[in-house]
């Protein structure tokens, strides 16, 4: 297992007693696998992402990534947060290139190979439909554009583990489907491991090898699905019978998961 969480429990301290976000969560993802996590709003998906990158440490349970126990933030990951959180004092390009200033070995190389790296960032921007927007500041971009820049920032340093927290939520259907294709290609090329949080079940099925369904808070995995479709997957596949059935199945599970607490 490349990423494994075992009986993990996470509670946030608060003035009104602690908030139990995750409890007894167990899941595993193989190297190079594309995993998706779905579940009702507020069930702890973002919390799960924070655990897997080491931003939070669990109160109990074990987390291992790349065969090492997670004890603090990992630099092998690229994370696209749910909220774009681009730095307002940097241009979009500078925002995208931020990880290069932090993560080794790019950090060292950046000075000498700035043009090459800049080119790479600009290529990424145009891949998501933002060519020519590199010099703009984040607050000069629309919501969907910010989200796309955020995705570029997660990709720029060729992470081994990619964490995407609703990366396409603010996009229209077409831009979104284009980016699905982009993600699929990138994954095929680079074989990184991906964890994708999404509310769009079609998105989850189209992109992922394995889908985890989470219960309502406190979150844990209630079911795990292998997606049987061979890759590369054409966009039309989403209209196929088998695909639509899987969507319905997941839908049903989430509906149950929500009711459980309600």
């Amino acid at each position: 297992m490349f990423v494994s969480l075992d009986g993990v429990r996470l509670a946030y301290p608060s003035d009104y007693g602690e908030v139990l976000a995750l409890d007894g969560l167990t899941m595993g993802i193989e190297e190079g696998e594309f995993a998706a996590v779905v579940g009702p709003s507020g069930c702890g998906k973002s919390s799960l992402m924070r655990l897997a990158t080491g931003l939070h440490l669990p109160q109990s349970g074990a987390i291992r990534v790349a065969d090492k126990p997670v004890t603090g933030p990992l630099s092998i990951t690229g994370m696209a947060f749910q909220n774009p959180s681009l730095l307002p004092w940097r241009t979009t390009l500078a925002n995208v290139m931020l990880p290069l200033e932090i993560v080794r070995p790019h950090r060292r190389r950046l000075k000498h190979e700035r043009t090459a790296y800049t080119q790479k960032a600009e290529d990424l921007l145009s891949l998501v439909g933002l060519e020519g927007f590199g010099a703009r500041f984040p607050w000069q971009l629309s919501g969907g554009m910010q989200q796309r820049a955020n995705l570029c920032r997660a990709l720029i340093h060729d992470p081994v583990l990619l964490m995407l927290d609703e990366p396409f939520g603010a996009l229209d259907a077409f831009t979104r489907e284009e980016l699905w294709a982009v993600m699929q290609d990138l994954h095929a090329q680079k074989r990184f491991t991906v964890i994708l949080v999404t509310h769009d079940l079609r998105e989850a099925i189209y992109l992922a090898d394995k889908i985890f369904v989470m219960s309502a808070r406190p979150g844990r995995i209630i079911s795990e699905h292998r997606v049987p479709f061979p890759r590369p997957r054409p966009m039309d596949i989403t209209y196929e019978r088998e695909f639509v059935d899987l969507v319905q199945e997941l839908r049903g599970e989430i509906a149950d998961a929500r009711k459980e607490v309600a």
């Binding site: 931003l55 630099s75 092998i76 994370m79 947060f81 730095l87 307002p88 931020l98 932090i102 607050w139």
Partner: protein, 256 residues
């Protein structure tokens, strides 16, 4: 016409200054304020004209000691601010001491400096530094302490060190306040070097003003004060310009 002029940010500094001068002149004339307490601006201008050479020389001395002290305060304050922002223990250990030290009038420290460094520019530079570094520390440390965790996480998720977080987020984010603190620091640096010069220098505006005071040449004392104000304003303008170029992003909005 006058109203629009009043509302124009470019004309405003001059209008306000002129208004102040006129008010001052009137207050002195109508209030019949003796010249040895508060000379009228016209009298001060007379003193500036009469003593322009010593005023200029001493102003330059004060300007450079102040700038040297200010730059030290900038660097030192930044470093100390980062240090204090670095660790909660250092914060809660060092902060009270700094507050205590800064509650002490720096005049009290100058004699010690004289013994160590003799009189001249060194005590003035050090005094300017000692008085000016604190605002920088406070604002830098506050900037670091109030980094939004959401933003910080962006860097932490990349395995960034504390140092990275501080330099890539803490400082840029606190930049407007950092510049604010510099505005405070530069004025304090002037006060510091002048105070030191009154005790331990053969030159500088502080020295000149005390010498003038000792002869009850009050217009000249005020000429010195005016020069100080002018130097302060010039330095402010320089910093405001730097600020405008570096913190445009933060002032993209503001109260409109």
């Amino acid at each position: 016409m006058i109203l629009t002029l009043l509302k124009s940010p470019r004309a405003a500094p001059f209008i306000y200054a002129v208004a102040l001068i006129i008010l001052w002149e009137l207050a002195v004339r109508i209030g019949d304020m003796p010249v040895y307490i508060l000379p009228a601006p016209s009298v001060i201008v007379g003193a500036i004209v009469k003593y322009w050479s010593p005023i200029l020389k001493n102003s330059l001395v004060t300007l450079w000691t102040t700038l040297a002290g200010f730059l030290l305060a900038l660097v030192g304050g930044l470093a100390l601010g980062l240090l204090v922002g670095w660790s909660k223990a250092i914060y809660s250990g060092l902060y009270p001491l700094m507050v205590g030290f800064n509650s002490i009038p720096k005049v009290a420290v100058v004699p010690i400096l004289v013994i160590w460094f003799g009189i001249g520019v060194v005590p003035a530079i050090i005094t300017a530094f000692l008085i000016a570094f604190f605002p920088v520390v406070v604002n830098v440390a506050t900037g670091l302490a109030t980094i939004e965790p959401e933003t910080e996480d962006v860097l932490r998720a990349l395995g960034a060190s504390k140092w990275d977080v501080m330099t890539k987020i803490g400082i840029p984010r606190a930049l407007p306040y950092f510049f604010g603190s510099l505005k405070i620091a530069i004025t304090l640096a002037f006060v510091g070097s002048v105070v030191s010069e009154t005790i331990a220098a053969n030159a500088g505006l502080g020295h000149m003003m005390l010498a003038a005071q000792s002869q009850f040449n009050v217009p000249l004392v005020f000429a010195g004060l005016v020069m100080l104000a002018v130097e302060g304003i010039v330095m402010y303008a320089v910093m405001a310009e730097i600020e405008k170029r570096t913190t445009g992003w933060a002032r993209r909005g503001g109260v409109r």
